[in-house]
Amino acid sequence: MNKVEQSMKTVDHMPLFEVFIRSRRGLDHKHVGSLHANSSEQALEYARDCYTRRSEGGSIWVVRSSDIVASQEEDASSFHDPMDDKPYRHAAHYVLPDAISNM
């Protein structure tokens, strides 16, 4: 077994975590990537080491990838398509007052 295979075998036993980082107070946590770890505590530490060494973040979330429930490709027709012909649901025709600059 070469080194890469060995290393992949090591992480086979470790769950995958998704990492979310909030760069500044007031902003949202953004997904930045994923990593392997043995526990959520360790995942938090690795997230710090892998993703925030250049002060990218003030707050970190980690969550087991397996705990994320995601919509699937085959859901698209029932989930998303019905919205296509309902332009009135968008605020596209709304004229912003001059005083509002950050939208």
Binding site: S7, T10, M14, L35, H36, N38, E45, Y46, R48, D49
Partner: protein
């Protein structure tokens, strides 16, 4: 600082602290690209970098105290074996991952106590450096503590490896708590840390972590020192050869 502080004594003290950081940082950096898996590889390399950064701060200050025109690079790369005064524990070969983590636990526990004390030093520069490094060491301790518990309370193999690691390095830990005359003189005037004083606290925390990891505290008995006098182990020479190679081959080379 008052002029009662002997510059030569302060220089030696700061230089030894820099040597501790440089040599451990060099040892840890050997794991770069050889870590057990990618995440740990990055995390361990970060710790190594923290130590190299620490070494720079101490050497830069040592060079200033010496006032003889030597730079931090001269101090890091330009000395011979006997002129390095790091504790022997730091130069021991990196061993397996269990050994590296066992050593880190010993060192991290020690540094958290040592740097807390040093941050109250009468020497303002040392106090400021210590305050900065303390935060790093607190994080390092979180890691090494978790790893030692994980390995100790893990499989039969991980347990026996980390127990063996502590048995092997135990004789080298006593030196950490044995001040030399130079240090003692600086402690008396409130500059250096009294490392005897932190031993009890270190012991208590160490024993608690060992118990959690289902490991046995090694027997006292064999103890060795010499690092602070410049007397090193055999493994130190090859470490230094690799560390100094570039500056020896191309003196004054800059990136």
């Amino acid at each position: 600082m008052t002029e009662t502080v002997n510059n030569q004594a302060l220089f030696r003290y700061v230089l030894a602290l820099g040597d501790d950081a440089l040599i451990l940082g060099q040892r840890l950096s050997e794991w770069c690209s050889a870590g057990p898996f990618l995440e740990e590889d990055l995390a361990l390399a970060n710790v190594a970098l923290d130590y190299l950064g620490r070494a720079r701060m101490f050497f830069e200050y040592a060079a200033r105290v010496e006032g003889g025109g030597r730079t931090e690079d001269d101090l890091a790369f330009g000395r011979t074996v006997r002129e390095y005064h790091n504790h022997l524990l730091y130069e021991l070969p990196r061993g397996d991952f269990a050994f590296t983590m066992a050593r880190q636990l010993v060192v991290d526990l020690y540094n958290v106590e040592y740097l807390s004390a040093l941050s109250n030093s009468r020497d303002e520069t040392l106090a400021a450096i210590a305050a900065r490094c303390l935060k790093e060491s607190q994080y390092h301790l979180r890691r090494s503590r978790e790893w030692v518990v994980r390995l100790g309370d893990g499989t039969d193999e991980s347990h026996s490896r980390v127990q063996k690691a502590f048995d092997e390095l135990w004789g080298y830990t006593h030196e950490l708590f044995k001040p030399d005359k130079n240090e003692q003189a600086l402690t008396e005037i409130g500059v250096a840390v009294d490392c005897c004083e932190i031993r009890e606290k270190w012991n208590r925390q160490f024993d608690a972590i060992l118990a959690e990891a289902t490991l046995e505290r090694p027997d006292d008995g064999w103890a060795i020192d010499g690092g602070r006098k410049g007397i090193h182990t055999e493994a130190f020479c090859s470490l230094l050869a690799e560390l100094q190679y570039m500056q020896r081959a191309y003196p004054g080379l800059e990136w």
